[in-house]
């Protein structure tokens, strides 16, 4: 018995020995429903797009402007998320305090919250009559109906993804490396920069991609809180929504543009992290 197994085992692949054996090819058709479900709409988009006037449709619908706004808004949102998520993730992973689980639940609440609710909640906070809106008005900080506001709304719904990714990243780093660093004469800050952060890099990259992808698709909170103004708050999804009401063909083209961007993200960074 043992001899047969040895003869069958592929030579020269010792590293894969631990992986459980895959089932036979025969059952592979089971992936078809999911594949068709995703692929058919994607193909339909390409088929229905008015290719002959694609360039005109893009400029008429304000897609290039929306692309610029989307880049500004998503990069801003990712930056805000990073500033908020990094310390929170570290504290959640490395410390233990009463109510930690409750705090964590609140921090990730926006993941399950309907985005439109998030938008309304932000209005109640930063709106002219909102909780801190008056204060901010006096300080000449304007968020409602501005690009910065769109970034804040987007960060509100996407930052929790970064918190989760970074928390699990911190957890996967043995805290004794940090002890070792300090015992060798490094301050906490030096240890964080030179010991913890480099080891966090894969989790950070995955988290940033995930957060950015979520930010790129953000619709509900943005349109509720920041409105839909071409050139300032109209991001790509908002442009698609508007085009759909006047020129569906243009909506298809802009959607394809976003599809290409998503695939590019998946291939460039996500492929390595999500595909196995």
């Amino acid at each position: 018995m043992a001899a047969t197994r040895e003869a069958v085992a592929p030579a020269g692949a010792p590293g894969r020995a631990a992986e459980p054996p895959r089932r036979r090819l025969r059952s592979a058709w089971l992936v078809l429903p999911a594949l068709v479900f995703v692929l058919v709409p994607v193909v339909a988009l390409a088929v229905k797009a008015p290719w002959s006037r694609a360039a005109a449709a893009l400029s008429d619908s304000g897609a290039w402007t929306a692309l610029r706004v989307s880049l500004e808004v998503t990069l801003g949102a990712v930056a805000i998320s990073l500033v908020v998520a990094m310390p929170a993730a570290w504290a959640l992973a490395r410390t233990d305090f009463p109510g930690r689980r409750l705090v964590r639940a609140f921090i990730v609440l926006p993941i399950v919250l309907p985005p439109v609710v998030a938008g309304v909640a932000l209005l109640a906070t930063f709106g002219r009559l909102g909780l801190v809106g008056g204060l901010m008005e006096r300080a000449h900080i304007h968020l409602v109906f501005t690009t910065a506001g769109a970034a804040v709304a987007t960060a509100f719904v996407s930052a929790p993804f970064l918190v989760l990714a970074l928390e699990s990243g911190f957890r996967s780093i043995d805290p004794r490396f940090e002890d070792a660093g300090r015992s060798l004469g490094a301050s906490r800050w030096y240890v964080f920069r030179r010991v913890t952060l480099p080891q966090l890099r894969p989790a950070l990259a995955a988290g940033l991609v995930l957060t950015w992808a979520r930010a790129l698709g953000e619709f509900g909170a943005t349109i509720t809180f920041a409105g839909n103004f071409r050139g300032t708050t109209q991001t790509l999804p908002l442009a698609v929504y508007q085009a759909l009401q006047t020129d569906p063909g243009a909506a298809y083209v802009v959607s394809l543009l976003m599809l290409v961007a998503s695939v590019a993200v998946l291939v460039a960074v996500g492929g390595r992290l999500l595909v196995r």
Binding site: D179, A180, P198
Partner: protein, 366 residues
Amino acid sequence: MTEPAEPALRAEILVPRADFDVRIRLDVEAGRTVALLGPNGAGKSTTVSALAGLEPLRDGSVVLDDVALEDVAAGVRLPAERRPVGIVFQDLLLFPHLTALENAAFPLRARGASKQEARARAGELLERLGVAHRARAKPDALSGGEAQRVALARALVHEPRLLLLDEPLSALDVRSRGEIRRLLRELLSGFPGVRLMITHDPVEAMTLADRLVLVEAGRVTQEGTPDEILRAPRTTYAAELVGVNLFAGRLERQEDGSGVIRMPAGDVVVAWPADASGDVDGAVGLLRPADVALFREAPAGSARNVIAGRVESLTRESDRVRVRIASHPPVVAEITAASSTRLGLHEGGEIHAAFKAVEVSVLLPD
């Protein structure tokens, strides 16, 4: 100019733990290596953490070279990064994203040295430790022995006053263990500060330390030279340590390149130690009882030492059985209770003890 003050460690620590409080008093004079020896979970690692400042004391003080690193009564507590300490951790904890050279340079960089200066000094030390050719390798590409050398370099590069070694040989296989043990003895004898190692392995302790401090359940139960403890063990644990097989005699080189320790009671074949220049009197071989295998018939395996004798005594301790064999030389073996039953061991019965030459650690006279 006066001579620099003799380095010395005086520590009296109380660290609370879930199972018991660790309450240990240590005095280590300059130029000596002290081993904290005790079973797993006795509080040895807690002691190292406390001395390094990674775990706060509830009470007591740590004084190094007449400077208080920590003194609870006086409210003094130097953070870990400001203590002149170098640690070799049990599982090394080399930073996985840094090369061997960057790891060794870390303590200097952390103290603000320039990149060039730090790398130059770390490179020199790696050279001295014989791993300069691996300077650009990441830790996961290093062999056990190489990684150990890099960890030693990282612990020594900033010239600490207190060197802490946590189970320095436990991660190594038998072959590199002998090599690193020799390297350690050399390094330790040349290190001017206070040397403290912790281990659960009596052979490791006796081959590297001048003085042993036995720790059980957070307390020091006995201290003294290996000799003193071997002669008069005061606790069950100490008595078990005495059970280490000790072969003292003349070391002679054999034609096949191995060595043999000749004693009036019989001979033991050993691996020829790399630091031995020729035949020598007063060599000591140490062998763990757990490394001795027992057979009813003379075994045909590769063990160079097969010694026949009668079972003199059987001592059972939970699921292990210590077997004292009246043979030439006498040998103590430690086997599982299941094996004891399978072998049908009884006092007075005939038995063959077998062990490999490389499993005998050889100490040469100084």
